[in-house]
């Protein structure tokens, strides 16, 4: 075998081995590397109360309730498999809205209510101007 072909074989083997190792590591990390639990995961895994986690999912339409104190809200988070109530006091990001994604930091209390300390809005991959969005969703006012 010529020296060049030997090097080629070695390099290809090395690349294949490294890719294989990375794929194995990635699939092993699959659960740990998730940034948040979906409501389905949270219900399935029977997360203990008071364990600090992140919960992510969609906020169903019509689920946000405002408390009289003006800063506390209660809303639902769903992933289609399970739906979890969330309570949060504080300022929400501008893009937090019904029908959109959310990631909340916090913990479940004993009754299964998720007490959020922080709320992040999750943006999806759709980008469009207001006119198009208005025509698509028939929303009254987007501004």
């Amino acid at each position: 075998m010529k020296a060049k072909n030997q090097r080629l074989t070695l390099a290809l083997l090395a690349v294949a081995a490294v890719i294989g190792a990375a794929l194995l590591a990635m699939s092993a990390l699959k659960d740990q590397a998730a940034y948040f639990y979906t409501p389905g995961d949270a219900v399935r895994d029977h997360l203990p109360p008071d364990k600090a986690i992140r919960l992510g999912g969609m906020v169903p339409k019509g689920s946000i309730q405002h408390f009289p104190d003006g800063v506390t809200i209660r809303f639902l988070v769903t992933d289609g498999q399970a739906t979890v109530p969330v309570r949060y006091s504080g300022i929400v990001p501008a893009l937090f809205r019904e029908g959109s994604g959310v990631v909340a930091d916090g913990r479940f209390d004993a009754s299964g209510l998720f007490m959020a300390d922080q709320i992040l809005a999750k943006h999806d991959e759709r980008y469009m101007p207001p006119q198009v969005a208005g025509a698509m969703h028939k929303t009254k006012s987007l501004k």
Binding site: K4, R7, L8, A11, A14, V15, V18, I19, A22, M26, L29, K30, A33, A34, Y35, F36, T38, G56, V92, P93, A94, L95, F96, R97, S100, V103, Q118, I119, L120, A121, K122, H123, D124, E125, R126, Y127, M128, P129, P130, Q131, V132, A133, G134, L142
Partner: protein, 238 residues
């Protein structure tokens, strides 16, 4: 490929290409950013911050493509011992690192008003930050290796193995739940409205041409540097 093993032949081609790529890239960037800042509408949810994507997306692409180039050049260097491969890989490192940094910074600026935070440790953001650190390590390693053959081979090995991070960055939003959204542009279509989309490919090609021009410029600098060094050594010996 081995036609360009002769640096003089490479430089004869690289010199005009540097100018062509640089100027055409600058023109495309000007059109794309001008259009992206003034002509395109704002997004229905993000408002004006959507315009950051005309910088962010090309920067992310070049940050990753830069390392892709380093890996390909490292492979050429290790297997075929092509004399220009090590030069190309080293020339790619600094611009690649700069674009990775632009991607991280612009994403952070977008994240604050959109998500409500500057930074989160999710799969996409973390793997992109790792890419930036890999660049810094690569630059330090290449600097330390200098013109020493074994050191350059070690650098090439690092460049090849570091490429493992590229698929991790790309698939991070599919494999793991992340705060970062999935891809808006796939092989089958896009979820970006046409009126917002058109400056994006222009910015994409514009920044890519500019990147290529900078890399060619740096390769020529390295070659000229080596030439000067060799001449000085000859003069000292005589």
């Amino acid at each position: 490929m081995h036609r360009f093993a002769n640096p003089a032949r490479f430089i004869a081609l690289a010199r005009p290409l540097t100018a062509w790529f640089g100027w055409s890239g600058a023109l495309l960037i000007l059109i794309a950013l001008g259009g992206g800042l003034t002509v395109t509408p704002s997004d229905y949810l993000q408002g004006e911050t959507v315009r950051i994507m005309y910088i962010h997306v090309p920067a992310a692409w070049l940050g990753m493509a830069g390392w892709g180039g380093i890996a390909a050049a490292s492979f050429l260097q290790l297997v075929w011992r092509h004399p220009l491969a090590a030069v190309a890989a080293r020339a790619l490192a600094v611009p690649g690192a700069v674009f990775a940094a632009i991607c991280l910074a612009s994403g952070s600026i977008w994240g604050r008003p959109t998500w409500g935070t500057w930074w989160v440790w999710d799969g996409r953001l973390t793997s992109m930050l790792v890419l930036f650190f890999l660049y810094l390590a690569y630059i330090a390693l290449a600097q330390a290796a200098g013109r020493e053959e074994s050191g350059q081979r070690l650098t090439a090995l690092f460049g090849l193995i570091g490429a493992v991070n590229l698929p991790i960055i790309h698939f991070s939003v599919l494999w793991w739940s992340t705060l970062h959204q999935g891809s808006s542009i796939g092989l089958t279509g896009t979820s970006i409205d046409k009126s917002l989309l058109w400056p994006l490919p222009l910015a994409f090609f514009g920044f890519t041409l500019l990147f290529a021009s900078i890399v060619l410029m740096r390769m020529r600098t390295f070659l000229a540097d080596a030439k000067v060094e060799a001449r000085l050594r000859r003069m000292a010996a005589a």
